[in-house]
């Protein structure tokens, strides 16, 4: 699989502040790649460098094998971006915004209705952007990013502040894009999002990579407790070691038909992050999607 993005020793400083500290990573094509970190970790700065909006002080950043500081018009056209601030024209309608960008991208206006339908905004196509809800504005921003059939999508916190239903809709769109072969680079401080849709994540803290890999692999790597949580039919909650020594007890409860639920317990990305840094991922983010500790599906 070819690398879509490659960073090698990427360093950015704002005056004396080190914002990105020698980041090195590769993003293969067709992957949903998550950059996980709290606000101020350097996520948006990294996107700005990768999209050529900002120049690094040291190191190399490449998109499709080309230096991000020297991207051609064709390479720019194969990138879609949804940034933290929407960048939409508030006085124009949903349709007018997309038709404007269609002209900029050189895309036929005929694709607009299909995009609006796929993102659930067709009925609101004549509504001014200023009158849309936050979720609808997010979807419109995503629609604009999808418009030019980009090979690579940069999404800066695409579901921040959205309700679970809208978040799910956006996740479905992203998973659909991955099926089509689009590479997606998204930043988030929502560990649930990272675990549920990302193929590979980087945990970023104060501009440095502190951990990376498949979300499930990272969680397994930091599973020091290795426990089983059992809830019995009478409401009693038990915690047992997740090994052979607990087998007789578990068997006995099963034979007596006394088990209401049984879960393995392993850390979430959130708890891994806290273990590595001593601070939370969602310090100033929405906590709605963050259960304190993930419990796997009942066995």
């Amino acid at each position: 699989m070819k690398d879509c993005i490659k960073a090698d020793g990427l360093t950015v400083r704002f005056s004396d502040v080190l914002v990105l500290d020698h980041l090195s990573f590769e993003v293969p094509e067709g992957m949903i790649f998550g950059l996980l970190g709290p606000s101020g970790a350097g996520k948006t700065t990294l996107i700005k460098v990768l999209t050529g909006q900002l120049c690094q002080n040291e190191g190399e950043a490449q998109l499709f094998g080309k230096d991000t500081r020297r991207l051609t018009a064709a390479e720019h056209r194969s990138i879609g971006a949804m940034m933290d601030n929407y960048g939409l024209y508030e006085r124009l309608s949903v349709y007018e915004n997309l038709s404007f960008y269609a002209d900029i991208y050189g895309v036929s206006h005929r694709v607009i209705p299909d995009i609006l339908k796929s993102i659930g905004l067709y009925d609101a196509r004549r509504t001014a952007v200023s009158k849309l809800s936050k979720g609808m504005t997010n979807r419109l921003s995503l629609a604009r990013a999808l418009m030019n059939n980009a090979r690579l999508l940069f999404l800066d916190e695409p579901t921040s502040g959205l309700d679970p239903a809208t978040t799910r809709e956006i996740h479905d769109v992203l998973l659909d894009q991955r099926k089509k072969g689009t590479t997606i680079f998204l930043t988030t401080h929502n560990m649930f999002e990272a675990e549920s849709i990302c193929d590979h994540v980087i945990l970023l803290h104060k501009g440095s990579i502190i951990e990376q890999g498949k979300p499930s692999d990272i969680c397994r790597r930091y599973d020091h407790q290795n426990k089983l949580h059992i809830t019995l039919t009478d409401g009693t909650e038990l915690t047992l070691d997740n090994n052979g020594a607990s087998a007789p007890a578990v068997n006995e409860y099963l034979e007596q038909n006394r088990i209401r639920s049984i879960h393995s317990s392993e850390p979430t990305l959130e708890t891994v992050f806290i273990e590595l840094t001593g601070t939370g991922l969602m310090a100033d983010a929405d906590l709605r999607f963050a259960p304190p500790r993930r419990e796997n599906a009942p066995k």
């Binding site: 999209t51 050529g52 909006q53 018009a73 720019h76 056209r77 990138i79 971006a81 940034m83 601030n85 929407y86 960048g87 939409l88 024209y89 508030e90 006085r91 124009l92 007018e96 404007f100 960008y101 002209d103 900029i104 991208y105 050189g106 001014a128 604009r144």
Partner: protein
Amino acid sequence: MKNTITIFKKQIKDTLRNKTVLIQFLMFPVMTLIMNNTVKIPDMPENFFVNLFAAMYIGMAPLTSIAAVISEEKEKNTLRVLIMSNVRPCEYLLGIGSYVWLACMTGSLVICISGHYDRKTGLLFMGIMAVGILISLLIGAVIGIGSRTQMMATSITVPVMMIFSFLPMLSLFNGTVAKIARFVYSEQISRMLGSIDSLEFTAERAGIIGVNICIAVLAFMAAFRKCNLA
């Protein structure tokens, strides 16, 4: 060129729904139409309101509207998205600038019609307005490029606009102000419009306007290089 035209068309739609900018384009032409046709004072110079409002229009409308448009695009990140969409800064500035220039020229046409000039004088009037609007556009663009937010742009635009638009009027009443104001393009344009029937292009007049254009172009280039829109 395609991007410039697209931005131009977008700006027409946007302005029609942006009362703040729309009013800048309409206020002085409408006021000229009304005042020139309704107010008749004995011994008042011919086309007094046309000349007065035309000079004020030059100092106000292009300057405030282009600064507002650029700073709003910067503040709301639409400009960043455009640049990321491979729109070159010069294409953007050309699209916005040509739009504001044409909108102001349309307003100038209304003022010109209010003056009931003959064809030759009317063309001369429009030519003078075109130069004045261009200088104001460059100054407004400098403010817009240099400002991060609309609020910041407004706080700079208002005093600058007051100087350029009110100097011609103040110099009518105060000789000292007139001596200083003669070095400012809006005053020179006001004087040219005031004597449009017997207009003479003196070396001094051409020199002052030329220096004003050079200063505006240099300021624009410096702002563009330093801030580069992004």
